[in-house]
Amino acid sequence: MIFDPPILALLLTSGITAAVWLAAAGFAVRLLRHWDIRSGSGRQIRLERQTYLVATALKIVMVAQMAALALFVHNADRMAILFTGAMCALGTLNVNEWGMPAFLAQMGMFLAAAIWLLVNRADEMGRDYPHTRAKYALLLAFAPLALAAAALQWLYFLNLDPNVITSCCSKLFTPEGAGVQADLSAMDPRAALALLFGGSGLLAALAAWPRAGRWPRVAAGILAALYFTGAVAAIISAVAPYVYETPNHHCPFCLLKPQYGFIGYLLYLPLFVATALLLGTGLLAALGTPASLRDAQPAFMRRVGCIAAILYVSFAAVALYAIMRSHLILIG
């Protein structure tokens, strides 16, 4: 099964990412031990020069990783035809025990990459590399995730067996069933929609608030993380049935299919990016504003916040459009 072009591309990307990350982690350890911006020693100059290489390599692999999430999901959906019982990406991911963890790790990598890129961007704005230590500490913290994501992907693809009969999404995402998927689909539609629209409105307002200080930004970051799970649950329990126009089908992956106009991508992409942006600005706010970025960093966070607010509003708008267009009456 591994000899499939998209799988080869994904394995190649995850292999390169893991290798670059590992090399960068080694550099990060050296940097955290010896970095001293006030020093003019040869070692410091070498470290400063190497940060250009490491940061550029990381930027490239992280952008590739973020695109790889789309390829991973799209590929899982396409492969559903190869497995008995699979109707969409979910069936493919359930072919072996590594599929779901690999997907979650890939999703984690998307968020981690976005957060790191944001901190890196802020760091590059300052003349004295103000966030360099924090940025490489963050890189070290994410290193286990990067390695786990690559390892899980290899395990998943190497153990794909076309003879396995997998479970279809309509079996897993039923409120009557057991497990996380069943819990996610069992939410009351009224509460789910209140959470979805109320939450996105609140977060959009918080993100776009121009005078937000340090702690409101940190709070927005934490809220964004919480809202992310809430919004996914709301999509599963309320928005998905509206899209499928049947009260019993809750699958979050079937939304990505062409017969539903790829609406899943329009829903998930703004949600993912907005969450990543607020997590990033939350982290930046928690790190504090260095003297060299007294004006630049708050302005940067405001800009990012505005983008996040637009994305939250568009997420809610797409959800509203799906509901308005539907012939299903779930509430009332």
């Binding site: 000899f3 499939d4 670059v20 290489l53 790889a68 799209h74 035809i81 190869l82 008995t84």
Partner: protein, 382 residues
Amino acid sequence: MRRWLGRQLHLVDFTLGALMRRKGRNFMLLTVYTLVIFMLASVMFLGSALRHEAATALKGAPEVTVQNMVMGRHALSPPEWVERLSRIRGARNVHGRLWGYFYDQANGANYTLMVPPPHARDIAVREGETVIGASVARLREVHRTGYLFLLSPAGKLFRLKVARTLPHRSELLSADLVLLSEKDFRTFFNLKPRDGFTDIALAVRNSNEVPTVVNKITRILPGARVITREDVLRTYENVFSWREGIVLAMLAAALVAFAIFAFDKASGLSAEERREIGILKAVGWETSDIIAMKLWEGGIVSAFALVFGVAAAYAHVFLLDAGLLAPVLKGWAVLYPDFSLTPVIDRMQLLTLAFVTVVPFTVATLVPVWKAAITDPDIVMR
């Protein structure tokens, strides 16, 4: 944001100028890069076009086929099975199919002899007549006599009047097809009605019910083999994806060679380029600007190579019928259907292609780019 965009635009502008100043060198890189993408894209396009053809061809196939198995081998299905299967709720159009293979000693080709299904009125055949595929017609030159002569396995010569030849557009399915009436078929292979059928086909009213119907069939006829259309489609998907992947994996050597080539090209900066970087740094460019410029250089070359490579592969596969790759991916036979592929390209193929070419290229050129960027201006300009 606008400042950032403006900066990138200026960088692109400068990079394009720099690329044009070193036309010869960049043209060579672009040619090799395009060639690599052309090879990979050709394999992928051909693979997916073949999968698409298989899927389209199978649209008309019966949802479920039941075969009798004796000692693990495919055997004739007893006629009473048709009656038993017709009683399954949800199953409709149950009919026994008669088909078989015939090796023609005259030219070493294998034909598929078949009785058209009862509901296919447009290809119904009268006794003593036949409807044949275009390849069979070509091979046996039937246009000269208007008759097809076949020597039956029992050694009897059969003379069948060719009523018509099947259209060329169905050649993928009908290249080796010889359609006969049931009576002629049974006489040709010396089969009596009580011997039964080659297999039994049935349709299912609601496609979601296929697994249920299959379960019922296995309960009624425990020894039978039940094949669904999905099974066949899955097998085709697997076979073509696998063939495509194997060829791609073999091309990995070419990809590695290309990465080394790109690394080498990026490392060997000319004295003029070094001086250029030195001057840029001396006039205030930062290391990150030089890296960004060099990455733009790689990006522009990649974009052009992708466009040219994909366009060339498209022409190769869909206009020239993939002359370079067809034997590996299609397979071969004496009576091979001559068919044109329907152009199908999906976004995922292009994304995959970008992943397997642009990412390794960019990573391979990164270290040389960085080395060039960190050089002190006074060293290079001295």
